[in-house]
């Protein structure tokens, strides 16, 4: 049974660190990624194991604040803390790390993180739709390929890249199918359980086994749907999650939402559907590096401008998943998501006419009661709207 993750993020990390150590003893290399812009196909092509190293827990933050000022977003502090606090069992296992110049906090933190581990910091153009942006990014991807070859002592051929693209696409397709299991109403799994499971499944040492686990999870969900074993009822408010804060370890607001009767059925953004449904399209005779570069430049993070694709996606997903309300979470001190939230509000509230809640918080539990009022109020708002819609029918 893949379902029902009852472990904490620490348990998941500890277990994974063990299998990672075994893989390393068997001669495998490990490459850390810090963000959705990291082209994992390069790592797969190098025969190494990609590992997400983004910080999603409160505990390393205190250590990070010995160096970074407290006025940074918790993600930046926790990621740095994971490297320097000496408590993360996975971080020391990375042979090298790939990162990108996304937001200012990350970019400047990487200058310090580089002291801990060899890094390839890719220069990410931030107006991705301009023609020059792609050319520049292609060169960055090429350089990272050379970086990996050097660090890992391997040669990455075009054939290696082509098969890595097939692997990556297969994985993304399965993950996308998993997300779409939740279009069913009533659904087979609650948001929190789904997110915990997905957070756990992102870690793998053996690719084929990873695919098999994802397939198993998928058939479990399908079976639940067939047998009408539902985890939530059809009239619970269906929430779309956007922005940040939807992974194991930093999901306190999401937990509150489901405690208060909502169910998070769709996630947009990092940790969500839009990061998996976009595939690498490799044209005939196309340089695989170019195809990889194109795909990763399309990631719709708020560090990009004008990032219009995010809004098209949001609108489509609200309709597809029959959404009753949208929650947009920004971490405290995160300028990109905080400012972009205004446009999310314009879309959700003004254009689609759906209840919208913007939440700003951090990883600590200190504001749980304040957040509860907002979340409960939001649920009351959705309930009223539903009541009136029913009356109109």
């Amino acid at each position: 049974m893949v379902l029902a993750v009852t472990e904490t993020i620490q348990d998941v990390h500890n277990d994974f660190a063990l299998s990672l150590e075994m893989a390393k003893e068997g001669g495998q290399k490990v490459v850390g990624c810090l963000c959705s812009y990291s082209p994992t196909e390069l790592i797969l092509a190098a025969g190494a194991i990609p590992v997400g190293l983004c910080g999603s827990t409160q505990e390393p933050i205190t250590k990070a604040e010995e160096i970074l000022s407290p006025d940074q977003c918790p993600k930046v502090k926790a990621t740095y803390g994971r490297a320097v606090a000496g408590t993360c069992p996975i971080f020391p296992l990375a042979d090298c790390v790939i990162a990108e110049t996304t937001c200012d906090g990350r970019k400047k933190m990487y200058e310090l993180l580089e002291r801990e581990v060899p890094m390839s910091i890719m220069d990410l153009p931030q107006k991705p739709e301009t023609p020059a942006a792609l050319n520049h990014w292609i060169e960055e991807v090429r350089q990272t390929k050379s970086f990996l070859e050097q660090q890992l002592g391997v040669t990455i051929t075009d054939d290696d890249l082509r098969s890595a693209i097939v692997m990556g696409n297969k994985r993304r397709k399965l993950i996308t199918d998993l997300y779409y299991c939740r279009i069913h109403n009533p659904g087979p799994i609650n948001g929190l359980e789904f997110i915990n499971t997905m957070s756990k499944l992102q870690y793998y040492t053996d690719f084929d086994q990873h695919i098999a686990t994802l397939e198993k999870f998928y058939s479990e969900l399908q079976q639940l749907i067939e047998e009408k074993h539902y985890a939530h009822s059809a009239d619970q408010p269906r929430i779309l999650w956007t922005g940040l804060g939807n992974s194991l370890g930093c999901s306190k607001v999401l937990e509150l939402v489901e405690e208060c009767g909502g169910v998070v059925v769709c996630q947009e953004g990092c940790g969500g559907l839009t990061r998996s449904e976009d595939q690498i399209v490799l044209g005939e005779n196309e340089d695989p590096i170019v195809a990889i570069a194109k795909r990763y430049l399309r990631v719709t993070c708020a560090c990009m401008t004008p990032n219009s694709q995010r809004f098209d996606d949001l609108e489509r997903l609200c309709r597809e998943f029959k959404i009753d309300g949208v929650i947009d979470l920004a971490w405290q001190f995160c300028q990109p998501f905080e400012i972009e939230s205004y446009r999310v509000k314009e879309l959700v509230k003004d254009k689609l006419g759906l209840p919208f809640l913007h939440v700003v918080t951090d990883y600590s539990q200190s504001d749980t009661e304040q957040l509860r009022i907002r979340v409960e109020g939001f649920m009351e708002r959705i309930a009223t709207r539903k009541k009136y819609a029913d009356r109109r029918l």
């Binding site: 304040q370 409960e376 009136y388």
Partner: protein
């Protein structure tokens, strides 16, 4: 509906600072009671409820339904239903006048702006973030630094001739800012009116972010500060509808209205 003489509907608003009870009579008149919440929310609520019953010359069994709200609502074991103060403020304001479309509530630890429809449904809201900037706590800090009581923030405001520019909305930093203004020889009146204007801008911007509506009321203990009210009216360029009741009672009134609605 005949409910055997149970003609009262109770609303309890267990706020972070004060607990308020409104007992609504079937004919829409009401009595109220209020006292500091203290440490034991449940116990205080029962005491305030008992006080309100005395004022109404009624007994516990005369109450048909109790709705609880406010920060302490989960501790109200006597409540039949609990809802957030967001919905209650909307219902309270609607009870005062069905034309009201916006409530600005400044509480002890948070402030909020609420939109409501003609039926008293809360249709949108915005609340201040984590910190205490822009809450009643901030004004308390100002009063303490100036060694005044809160009422003076209201009276002295209108004596200010050249309101000081106040830059810090932080509860911690405003103290040192005020001390340096005093050291520079600024008058207390200019400082107070400066504070009220800065505070009004902060709250006013929150209201603008949600969207301004005409027919707005100001509620919460801070609404008694006429200086702030004046500054807010100037900043929003709209008049505030007079509430007609103690502005601290609006949430409890809304809870009582809900108790009545749920009983029909």
């Amino acid at each position: 509906m005949n409910s055997g003489g149970k003609k009262y509907f109770a609303g309890i608003d267990a706020g972070s600072r004060t607990t308020k009870v409104v007992l609504l009579n079937g004919d829409s008149s009401f009595v109220s009671a209020i006292r500091p919440t203290g440490l034991n929310v449940g116990e205080t609520a029962e005491k305030v409820l008992a006080e309100a019953l005395v004022a109404a010359s009624a007994q516990t069994h005369d109450i048909q339904r109790i709705v609880g709200t406010g920060y302490g609502r989960v501790s109200l074991s006597c409540a039949d239903t609990t809802v957030t103060e967001l919905s209650c403020h909307a219902l309270g304001a609607n009870c005062i006048s069905p034309d009201i479309r916006m409530v600005i509530d400044i509480g002890g630890q948070d402030s909020k702006v609420i939109h409501l429809d003609q039926d008293g449904n809360m249709v949108d809201f915005i609340m201040n973030d984590k910190c205490a900037a822009g809450t009643g706590k901030f004004l308390e800090m100002v009063a303490r630094t100036l060694e005044m009581d809160m009422d003076n923030l209201s009276d002295i405001h209108f004596k200010g001739e050249r309101p000081c520019q106040i830059n810090s909305m932080c509860v911690v930093f405003v103290e040192s800012e005020i001390i340096s203004l005093i050291a520079r020889g600024e008058s207390a009146a200019d400082i107070v009116s400066g504070v009220n204007h800065a505070f009004a801008n902060r709250i006013g911007n929150m209201a603008k972010r949600l969207g301004l509506k005409q027919q707005c009321v100001l509620t919460g203990g801070v609404a008694k500060n006429r200086g702030l009210k004046d500054a807010l009216t100037m900043y929003l360029r709209t008049s505030l509808t007079p509430l007609g009741i103690d502005p601290q009672l609006n949430g409890a009134l809304g809870a009582a209205v809900l108790a009545q609605r749920l009983s029909h």
